[in-house]
């Protein structure tokens, strides 16, 4: 067992973990952040995408021990505690019907936030390329792309940053 200290959604967490424990299993089974789901076992689907030290990562492709000392932001920490505090990206996904079953949504939103941080005004093609590491089986991506466009417009208009 290895002792690690990780900040998760603004709260400091300390646990003894197996060296082989994946970060996503740490978040879900140890910290209790089950809002971040698992969709595959090959790092293809992106459902488990979180922000680590300000960059989006697939939390199934990182060990919990590698996160020691780091800062993790999950979908659960993106918004405030009440509905009116939604992040513009969350709001845009709802407004544009960018989700159906919602399983890919946490990862998709986290990846899209990261995309806009790097490129605040992406073209449709840049959005599609930018989220190609996140798979969705329900929406056909049409409304996800619209949601990211909408969030980009809203965030550049209001100066809100991710």
């Amino acid at each position: 067992m290895v002792s690690i200290n990780v900040t998760v959604d603004g709260r400091s967490e300390s646990h003894d973990v197996e060296p082989r424990l994946l970060l996503v299993h740490y978040l879900r089974d140890v910290v209790g952040k089950v809002g971040t789901p698992i969709g595959c076992d090959t790092s293809n689907c992106g459902a488990c995408t979180v922000s680590f030290n300000g960059q989006s990562i697939k939390s199934c492709s990182m060990l919990a021990v590698q996160a020691d000392g780091g800062d993790v932001l999950t979908i659960e920490g993106l918004a405030g505690t009440v509905e009116t505090d939604l992040h513009p990206m969350q709001e845009a996904f709802r407004e544009c019907h960018g989700l159906q079953c919602g399983y890919c949504t946490p990862g998709m939103i986290m990846a899209a936030c990261d995309l806009l941080k790097e490129n605040p005004n992406p073209s449709e093609a840049e959005i599609r390329e930018g989220i190609e590491g996140n798979l969705c089986r329900c929406t056909g991506y049409h409304n996800i792309v619209r949601a990211v466009q909408t969030a980009a417009a809203s965030m550049s208009g209001t100066g809100v940053s991710s």
Binding site: H25, V34, T42, N44, I75, R94, L99, Q100, R137, Y141
Partner: protein
């Protein structure tokens, strides 16, 4: 009291934002794997690495691994293990080989469960799998469908003496006469062989099961489309009384048909929880999901079409070979038969022959995948219509117009015996042609051809219909389905006038909560926000037939509307009593009862709700409740339709194909929420496009699934597909009170042939008249080079 606010009258038909979304976009979700219970254990399954083998299992060493609580194989359960259920007796003589949840003595597909470990943690359960000893005595794999039919083929199930499950042949005289007429009169007879590749349903949430035992009750949390059916099956299979078994489908992350089964891990999960007296959870990995969740499609279609020189259809003949995989799941045998009535599609013809052979192989069992039989049928006929047009030098839309049922001919009984209640193929096609820019793209295609451009265009047409809104019970009985087709709804009215809708139709992404709220808001005149949905839990809604076959709104929604009618009838009696009027003289609109022709007293629904429950002053003998339930069983299936037009751009030097423009106009009848309908179409389109361009479950000769992870199985990403041009026409169904026709599968059914037709259209100057799916760059490039396809069986179609 005067109520004049009519804003909620308009909830019906509006693109209201979804109530579901708030918890999904903030991670406040209840996927099964998110749930836990005190003392919970984890299960992990050892799966066969071989397609076909005799097995001997020794679990002893695994039992002493850290954290392991129990290890079981088939022999530990004996007959009590039960069998994998099937629910569709397609033919009285069909073969039904027995398979058990954990393989008994023999495995028949790679991935079949052999043993289960139960341990204190997820990782400990998985670790101990390596200590289970299995001796595999290999038997031959049966992979090739046609070879499997031969007398000298090895058998998948030696106990039944054949690999054929059933063979159905319909009379051929009428088609033979149609063909003879075509040949005699200078018409055309076109034959093609199409391969429907195996597909993996791939809902983003893999399956998971958590079984929680109490003294004599069991609660099963399952990622399933069918909580009610599952409760019945688990009760029948395990002997646990149905009334003491609760199944909950909490948040379910997609299904696409993949979650309509009762599989090994659910049955074994019940056994484990009962034996160990502790909650047991199992969550599959994606790799397990690809091996164990049933696969879809997997058919060989030999199609022959006879037509006059002028392009009028005379007859159609279909010879189908369907790959059932290693055994029967709930609807495995019925999937090809569900398509049987749809090959003739929207077209009039005098003769139709359908023959079907279903075959066992040593691959994962097949069953319903988004469309289930209808995408295969639609693909075949829509490809054939484009082939007919090409053969005759006609426009593919014109050849369809010559043959389709005209809007004034409904209701129309098709050659296969279906009764289409309504439709307007002319209107949908006209709008699609306009939206697509058909003439403009034809001109661009011509210009590129004349210039000899490297990047060539192709235009494909698909004017589809499908049969959905799964029901009616009587028809399902005639077809041998071991289930009814009704749906149940209950409307509960609280004292404060809030509504709880208990629906037997359970959601897994469709937006039931929102759409059902719109239905109820419209009917009862209560605010959209005042309606709550209770679904997916057999404790709150004990009766239901669940969600598949685009049935939720058509059948489940209709039950809600009918239950609301009963609520209104009860409310009217109380309102009349209070207003001292005759019930027949009352009108109800926008949530308010008024006396006809009188500006006088009114009573709002919310006031009636309170009066009903206070029961201080209600009519003598009346029950003090507005709660009402209705079980709706429609008289017919529903038949949405639409016209889909696809333009592909092909790099003729590399074979790389992209979608240049895609436009579709769907007619799904009356629409409750156009935003949700459009979303269903988008998602369906991409799944259908994925079959045309990307996806295929590939097995090697030894029976290994070599596309066993998302690395190898090409699920399209956002970068692989375009945005879409969509519109609708609305021709209401005449067979349900809403007029809805179902939308869940439409996009997926329509788009595959539109894409392949477009590819073939682009390549016709190269002498190509078919490309096997998925139309990968390599296959397209080889077709351009005049080469044969990899299988050698269908490169350029049967007419070459």
């Amino acid at each position: 009291m005067t109520v004049t606010d009519k804003e909620y009258e308009t909830a019906f038909g509006q693109p209201l934002r979804r109530k579901e979304d708030a918890h999904l976009i903030t991670g406040q979700t209840r996927w099964v794997d998110n749930l836990s219970a005190p003392g919970m254990l984890y299960a992990a399954y050892l799966r066969s690495p071989m397609a076909h083998a005799k097995i001997r299992v020794n679990t002893e060493a695994a039992k002493s691994y850290p954290g392991v609580v129990a290890v079981y194989s088939a022999e530990d359960f004996g007959a009590a293990q039960a069998v994998i259920p099937d629910a569709w007796t397609v033919h009285p003589d069909m073969k039904k080989p027995v398979m058990t949840p954990l393989a008994t003595d023999e495995v028949r597909y790679a991935g079949e469960p052999i043993a289960v470990v139960v341990a204190e943690t997820r990782y400990q359960a998985t670790d101990a799998l390596e200590a289970i000893e299995v001796d595999y005595d290999p038997l031959p794999a049966v992979i090739d469908l046609e070879a499997a039919i031969g007398d000298d083929s090895p058998l998948v199930h030696s106990s039944i003496g054949t690999n054929t499950c059933f063979y159905i042949e319909s009379p051929g005289e009428a088609y033979a006469a149609a063909k003879a007429q075509a040949e005699a009169d200078g018409g055309v007879v076109i034959t093609r062989r199409f391969l429907q590749q195996r597909l993996l349903p791939t809902p983003m949430e893999p399956r998971a099961v958590l079984v929680v035992p109490t003294i004599d009750d069991l609660t099963v949390y399952a990622s399933t489309q069918i909580p009610h059916v599952l409760r019945l099956l688990l009760a029948m299979l395990t002997g646990h009384p149905e009334h003491k078994l609760r199944v909950v489908a909490p948040d379910v992350g997609g299904g696409f048909g993949g979650k309509i089964n009762c599989l090994a891990e659910e049955i074994i999960g019940v056994h484990l929880a009962k034996r160990l007296g502790r909650p047991v959870k199992w969550t599959e990995t994606r790799s397990e999901n690809f091996l164990q969740m049933h696969h879809g499609r997997a058919q060989i279609q030999d199609i022959e079409l006879a037509a006059t020189r002028e392009g009028k259809l005379l007859g159609l003949k279909v010879d189908l070979i369907a790959d059932l995989g290693a055994g029967l799941r709930l609807f495995t045998a019925g999937v090809p038969m569900f398509g049987a009535a749809m090959f003739n599609a929207i077209y009039k013809m005098d003769a139709y022959q359908f023959n079907c052979r279903t075959v066992f192989t040593t691959m994962t069992p097949t069953d319903a995948y988004r469309g289930a039989g209808r995408p295969e049928a639609t693909f075949a006929i829509e490809r054939m219509m484009d082939e007919l047009a090409a053969e005759l030098g006609m426009d593919p839309i014109e050849v369809r117009k010559k043959n389709w049922i005209e809007h004034h001919e409904f209701p129309y009984t098709t050659i296969s015996g279906s009764i289409y209640d309504s439709g307007n193929y002319e209107a949908a096609t006209e709008r699609a042609v306009e939206l697509f820019g058909y003439d403009e793209l034809k001109a661009e295609q011509k210009a590129r051809r004349e210039r000899g451009d490297r990047m060539q265009l192709g235009i494909g047409v698909s004017t589809f219909t499908e049969a959905c809104g799964l029901a009616p019970s009587r028809v399902m009985g005639q077809l041998g389905v071991g289930a009814g087709g009704w749906e149940r709804a209950e409307i509960r009215v609280t004292l404060t006038g809030k509504i709880q809708v208990v629906s037997g139709s359970t959601p897994h992404g469709q937006g039931h909560w929102t759409a059902w709220s719109q239905l109820v808001s419209d009917k009862l005149g209560v605010p959209f926000e005042d309606v709550e949905l209770l679904a997916g839990d057999t404790a709150t809604g004990p009766q239901g037939m669940d969600t598949y076959g685009s049935r939720s709104l058509v059948v489940g929604g209709s039950a809600i509307v009918k239950a609301c009618d009963k609520v209104i009838e009860k409310a009217k009696r109380i309102a009349a009593h209070t207003l001292e009027a005759n019930p027949d003289d009352l009108e109800f609109a926008a949530g308010v009862f008024t006396v006809k022709g009188s500006p006088g007293p009114q009573m709002a629904f919310v006031e009636v709700a309170a009066a009903a429950q206070l029961a201080h002053n209600i009519p003598d003998g009346m029950e003090p409740s507005l709660n009402s339930a209705y079980t709706f069983d429609p008289i017919n299936l529903s038949y949405p339709h639409g016209t889909h037009l696809c333009c592909v751009e092909i790099d003729t030097e590399t074979g790389f194909t992209s979608i240049y423009r895609y436009a579709c106009v769907d007619d799904v009848g009356t629409v409750v929420n156009p935003m949700i309908v459009e979303g269903q179409i988008h998602g369906g389109l991409v799944q259908g496009i994925a079959q045309a361009l990307f996806e295929e479950a590939v097995y090697d000769e030894a029976g290994n699934l070599i596309t066993g992870t998302l690395v190898d199985y090409l699920l399209p990403s956002a970068a692989d597909v375009p945005s879409f041009l969509t519109d609708r026409t609305e021709t209401p169904s005449t067979d349900n009170p809403i007029g809805a026709k179902g939308v869940g599968e439409a996009g997926c059914i329509a788009s595959t042939p539109a894409v392949v037709n477009a590819i073939v259209d682009a390549l016709r100057p190269y002498g190509v008249n078919d490309v096997r799916m998925p139309c990968t760059p390599e296959r397209v490039w080889r077709a351009i080079q005049g080469g044969q396809s990899q299988s050698g069986s269908v490169a350029k179609g049967g007419a070459q």
